[in-house]
């Protein structure tokens, strides 16, 4: 189903916002104004935006770890001020400043990021089961190519298909996991080929094309809501930079090829989307300039909110009180 112009404009706006969020995080980690690490999403923000922008309010969203989920945050309407406050250990952080980068917004059905890659393949079964019982909701389960090495991925696909659970397995395949290339880790270049063993419908799409991603996920979501079970959507994307800021950019033990990385830059999703919205007269250059201006203002407001919030240093007694439900 083709997207309407309004939908395309919204996707474009969210993509530009997400890109600004990623750049904000890069700047901050370089300046020492972020807690923990940062795994840059540079050149790979389209997949998350496309996958999350048209989810329903009831849908459960598990963000991919790259860019610490900010593409998904942009699409989901997450309060990025509270997100950044969390990532800087502040009182107004979404988890009271105690989670570092393990953010969650349960009220948005975003139950929590984790530093354990592949952890979500466990609860996704229950998210899917509960969604089926309740009806009118589904699960977008995003993760990377690397995460499909986890045995839990196979258990989740087995359960999802056996029980026809309303889950979209959304794989951002950037061909890398830290220093390992896809061919080091998987016998087949397409991760979605794993779904075939379970008889799960699977598609491979261009993850650099925010519009293609959105169209595919909308269709997969409808399939899920119609009771037809899970779909595997593999979005081919790329990794322009090192795995996380400060770690050398290697393929196995060798530096990644500079020329190859230059080639990848031609696939920048912002450039691709801008060309298209202009060509199809979805937006004028003036409107695009306005979107950029607003994104900058939004980032400034986010940073101010987080920076103005006091450092979270509750007493041990207060922390102890948070361990159990009273």
């Amino acid at each position: 189903m083709a997207l309407g112009k309004e939908q395309m404009a919204l996707l474009y706006r969210n993509l530009i916002r997400a890109d600004h969020f990623d750049k904000m995080m890069m700047n901050r980690i370089m300046q020492g104004k972020l807690i923990g690490f940062y795994h840059p999403g540079d050149g790979a923000m389209a997949a998350g935006v496309g996958a999350s922008t048209f989810l329903g309010d009831n849908d459960i969203l598990n963000p991919h770890h790259r860019a610490h989920g900010l593409g998904y945050a942009a699409g989901r309407g997450i309060d990025v001020g509270r997100y950044l406050a969390e990532h800087t250990g502040k009182v107004d952080g979404c988890c009271g400043g105690r989670s570092s980068f393990h953010w969650s917004f349960p009220e948005k059905k975003l139950y929590g990021a984790s530093g354990f890659i592949g952890w979500h393949f466990c609860p996704v079964v229950g998210w899917g089961w509960a969604s089926k019982r309740k009806g009118n909701q589904m699960v977008l389960m995003a993760s990377g190519d690397g995460s499909y090495g986890q045995g839990g991925a196979h258990e989740a696909m087995l359960f999802a298909m056996n029980w026809k659970l309303p889950i979209v397995f959304f794989c951002e395949n950037n061909g890398m996991a830290i220093h390992s290339t896809i061919s080091d880790m998987h016998p087949m270049p397409d991760i979605s080929s794993l779904a075939q063993g379970y008889g799960m419908p699977a598609v491979v799409i261009d993850g650099q094309d925010v519009f293609a991603v959105a169209e595919t996920v909308i269709a997969a979501r409808e399939h899920a809501l119609a009771g037809k079970g899970p779909t595997f959507v593999e979005a081919k994307t790329l990794r322009l930079r090192e795995h996380d800021v400060g770690t050398p950019d290697l393929a196995r033990a060798e530096p990644r090829d500079a020329q190859y990385l230059e080639e990848l830059k031609k696939r920048d999703p912002v450039v691709l989307a801008t060309t298209r919205v202009l060509a199809e007269k979805v937006l004028t250059q003036k409107q695009i300039d306005e979107i950029y201006k607003e994104a900058k203002e939004e980032v400034a407001a986010i940073e101010k909110f987080a920076d103005d919030s006091p450092i979270a240093q509750p007493s041990i007694e207060e922390l102890l009180a948070g361990v159990y439900v009273a």
Binding site: G36, R98, H179
Partner: protein, 323 residues
């Protein structure tokens, strides 16, 4: 005698890998991204030993661990690297339920010579998953040994001992000690597992501390010097635990503070306290104090410095038992 060369702790570990792999063809390493390296402990090894012995795996802890487990039964001597110790929990079932208890339950016929290693520890504000110390979770299970070095010297010696040991050994190392420099002899040597070390002699109080917390203990001992004479004991191994060295120290001091970067309940600190009360009750002139993480998941953000054991908390405990 010529002066002993100094190395950072992480390079001392690497030297043990290198020397033991040169010495014994059966030794190999398996882990994620160890050829390229996440921490420098594996740097340069793939160039020397090739991909048959520096084995990168998919992002799959169970399969990765399984490589080591099965190969050990077949006579190899694997070192399996979990990167961050929290990730070890993904393979907790095969490690704790199988490997550790395997030999005994199968009639003590087989040996499983393998090293399970990972970095961990508070200090980088990464939150519970990455910082979590797992030594006590492992040490509770009989059949697997557990150690953690505090100095580069101990790092090389303990790792060498772990590789040569015919039992599964968990060698955990603290990120806060990674770049600490200290003397490390060039020739291979062993620091025996299950033997504590008196790192500093003193007469008023016995302070047990290990890993990064050993450094905090030294800070406190320096600060109190002239006022309270602190004896620092580094247990080096959590299992087996060398209680005799601690008891011997208590004969002199009569006072005990145990620092353990772990939850207060059911920790090595608790275990040492229990054993001392059991067999050394008469040696005590004061209650035992444990300096640990309160029973809360270790938060990230800005809370690590005061939730994890720290010099202030250690000093307060030492002063308390010396009142």
């Amino acid at each position: 005698m010529s002066e002993v060369r100094e190395l950072p702790l992480v390079e001392a570990i690497r030297e043990a890998y290198r020397q033991e792999m040169e010495r014994d063809e059966r030794v190999f390493m398996v882990g994620q991204d160890i050829a390229g390296g996440i921490f420098p402990h594996t740097k340069g090894l793939v160039e020397q030993f090739g991909t048959d012995r520096i084995v990168d795996t998919p992002l799959a802890e169970v399969g990765m661990y399984g490589t080591a487990f099965g190969a050990a039964m077949e006579g190899f001597r694997p070192i399996v690297d979990f990167m961050f110790a929290g990730f070890f929990l993904n393979a907790a079932s095969p490690i704790l339920a199988q490997t550790a208890q395997f030999r005994f339950i199968h009639g003590s016929q087989m040996s499983l010579p393998m090293v399970i290693t990972a970095a961990c520890g508070a200090g980088m504000r990464l939150g519970n998953e990455h910082a979590m110390l797992v030594h006590n979770m492992i040490a509770q299970v009989p059949g697997i040994k557990v150690c953690m070095p505090s100095t580069p010297y101990d790092a090389k010696g303990l790792m060498t001992a772990a590789i040569r040991d015919d039992n599964p050994v968990a060698f955990i190392w603290h990120l806060g000690t990674m770049m600490d420099r200290g003397p490390v002899p060039e020739e291979p040597y062993v620091v025996p597992l299950g033997v504590a070390d008196v790192k500093r002699e003193g007469s008023d109080v016995t302070l047990v501390a290990n890993g990064f917390q050993y450094k905090n203990a030294e800070i406190v001992a320096d600060k109190l010097a002239g006022e309270i004479s602190v004896e620092i004991i580094d247990p080096r191994s959590f299992s087996p635990l060398d209680i005799d060295t601690i008891l011997k120290s208590l004969e002199k001091t009569g006072r005990l503070v145990v620092v353990d970067e772990s939850w207060e309940s059911r920790s090595t600190a608790s275990e040492i306290a229990a054993q001392v009360v059991d067999v050394g009750f008469d040696l005590l002139d004061a209650p035992i104090r444990r300096v640990t993480i309160p029973n809360i998941p270790l938060p990230g953000g800005h809370m690590e410095p005061y939730v994890a054991p720290n010099p202030d908390a250690i000093e307060a405990a030492v002063r308390d038992v010396c009142r």
